[in-house]
Amino acid sequence: MGKNKISIFKIFSWTILIGLTVFFIFPFYWIASGSFKLQDVAITIPPEWFPTKPTLENFSQLFTSSTMRWFLNSVFISLGTTTLVCTTASLAGYALAKKKFPGSNAIFVMFVCAMALPKQVILVPLLNLITEFGLMNTYVALIFPAVGWPFGVFLMKQFSHSIPNELLESARIDGCSEFKTFTNIALPIIKPGIGALAIFTFIASWNDYFSQLIFTNTPEMATLPLGLAQLAQGQEFANDYGLLMAGALVASLPMILVFLMFQNYFTQGVTLGAVKG
């Protein structure tokens, strides 16, 4: 009897799970299939569940516009942010976990508090700052504020706790400088953490539509998400769903690939960052 119950329960939960899976997957199926449809097909009801006359027209139209430039901007901004975040955060996380100095706790608490802060809270002053420094439409405006956001410190502090104190002590006794100790002893141990942080940051900065929207306004500085948003808001292509879906696919695919390739790093990072909080 007990077994019976369990299997009914199981069937029930797998049905729901599959239902949820369809719900989550469908928009992406719709993006992918839509990107092969021409406009007159895309806005016909009843809809075509599967493109009967698939076309690459949308992609060729997409790539004649400035898509390559958007793509490169996105890559450059994400890489720049990732490099800086990983460097600054692993240094600080290591120090906060392994070094004792006056104010370290206060600083950490301040960082944790700031993590909860939505960016829009400081939108106006930040915009003023960017303007006064003449940083509007520069990569700096998109990279530096993101580096100031201290999520990485939090994550790297968690990882740094796992560095054995004995190792650090013996390095010191051997006469290693503080910096050498960090690069030779600490860094290899926290590498997986840096990997996780790198993927996190890369994806977050790729998708940081808000900053891109506010701190740039020239076509040369547009990123993939921004370029797509412009296509979607423009008069000419507003409802050209095929083209928009092609854009949506191109804007998201790199991140999905990054995720699939590094899924294990990712899982590890998410888990460690959270559970040991």
């Binding site: 940083l135 509007m136 700096v140 306004n217 008069q235 507003a238 409802n239």
Partner: protein
């Protein structure tokens, strides 16, 4: 060590800035100006795309003015306005913008623009000059004017067999609300089973293209958004209330589509792609984008038998970026755009607007554009330069959304709209 890190950071910052540097200072012989434009120039025979036309215009200008380089950027009607505001605030405003008085005069009132004292306004239409001026000074060089009308897809009405319900044969094509309703009902009936085509789309999501729904409501029962002197809002009069009530009823009956979360671009695209029988936002400029079918301009239905039109005034304005050289260059550019022997007229034609110069008519071929040109005698008071205009716009579309969704009656909505909109005038002064 500390110093080194700080220095390092600074160096990185400077290097990155330089690397990304926009408009790096070049040798002084060339003045570079930036020029932003909405998709305004879609009607040229040779350059079909806006950006291609603008590029050609710039090329021609630079050929004649070797000392000036023009950097072009295309902006959109939906997100462009926010972009310009952000640019003004971040001191990266363009030198030249091609726009309409609604925004231009607001910028002028805040001191962001250069007055265009060099322009001889005596030959220009008074209404256009008045709309483009603030405190007696001209801030936008009016190049074109055009009415906002309604439009119909005649190919489609022929197919549906309802062309006879249109006022095409009547004088000035004027029609009443009853006639319009009859047309919509017939269209809906004939379209039964074709779910992706609608009689029309009354959109009211945001301020993009909001002149369409405003002109629509203010016409039906012969009301107007403001009084004649454009000193206060008056759309809550009897006619205005009746019009909004009718709109709500027609919306509920499914005659006006579902446009609460859609905006002008959806209506334009829907009409262009044959998914709307008629549109409440149409103009000579938009008409140039119609390729697949025969279109007709239509007046807004008006119970008085004669429609009043909101109209567009369009032209370039110059931002004051505190650089005399750039301002000089910008002035040359806008003069070229309007007065050059070849490119002046060509630009006007590309915009699809009628000339803002007195007595210049008959620029366009074709019955439809000739008809549209005659409508200038029916232009209503131009209120887009009223103080606080930009604050009024969200009050309007949110109110209409509330009424269509049944959260308030037409009377309540319009009364509170007028009260609050009048407050925005006082606040902005």
């Amino acid at each position: 060590m500390k110093n080194k890190v700080v220095k390092g950071l600074l160096v990185t910052a400077i290097a990155a800035t330089a690397f990304a540097g926009c408009g790096a200072k070049k040798s002084s012989s060339v003045t570079e100006i930036t020029y932003w434009n909405f998709p305004n120039f879609a009607g040229d025979k040779e350059f079909k795309k806006n950006e291609d036309y603008d590029a050609a215009l710039i090329k021609a200008f630079e050929a004649k003015n070797p000392g000036i380089k023009v950097k072009y950027q295309k902006i959109e009607f939906s997100d462009g306005p926010a972009k310009i505001e952000a640019a003004i605030q971040s001191k990266t405003a363009p030198d030249v913008i091609y726009d309409a008085p609604g925004r231009v005069i607001t910028w002028a009132s805040k001191g962001h623009l250069v007055p265009l004292d060099h322009v001889d306004t005596s030959k220009l239409l008074e209404s256009a000059v008045k709309a483009s001026s603030y405190n007696g000074k001209l801030y936008m060089y009016p190049q074109g004017v055009a009415p906002f009308t309604m439009g119909v897809n005649k190919t489609l009405t022929d197919e549906l067999g309802i062309t006879n319900l249109l006022p095409l044969a009547k004088e000035g094509r004027n029609w009443t609300v009853e006639e319009y309703e009859k047309f919509l009902r017939a269209a809906k009936e004939k379209l039964a089973g074709k779910e992706d085509v609608s009689p029309t789309l009354f959109y009211t999501k945001s301020q993009a293209g909001d002149q369409g729904p405003r002109a629509f409501i203010s016409n039906l029962f012969n009301s107007w958004i403001t009084d004649k002197d454009v000193s206060k809002y008056t759309i809550n009069d009897e006619g205005g209330v009746k019009a909004l009530e009718w709109t709500k009823k027609a919306y509920d009956a499914g005659l006006l589509g579902k446009g609460i979360a859609l905006e002008a671009k959806d209506a334009v695209e829907g009409f262009k792609s044959g998914k709307l029988v008629s549109t409440i936002l149409f103009s000579p400029g938009l008409a140039k984008q119609v390729e697949k079918f025969e279109y007709k301009f239509l007046p807004f239905p008006n119970s008085s038998g004669k429609a009043t039109y909101e109209y567009l005034v369009a032209g370039p304005a110059i931002f004051d970026n505190k650089d005399a050289k750039k301002i000089e260059a910008a002035k040359k550019f806008i003069d070229f755009m309007i007065n050059d022997a070849d490119w002046g007229k060509r630009t006007l034609l590309a915009s699809g607007n009628f000339s803002a110069v007195k007595g210049v008519t008959g620029l366009y071929e074709g019955e439809e554009l000739k008809f549209a040109e005659t409508l200038s005698s029916q232009f209503g008071p131009y209120y887009n330069t009223i103080a606080g205009f930009s604050q009024m716009r969200p009050l309007w579309f949110n109110m209409v959304q509330g009424v269509l969704n049944g959260q308030q009656t037409a009377k309540e909505g319009l009364d509170s709209f007028v009260t609050n909109a009048n407050k925005t005038i006082a606040e902005a002064k």
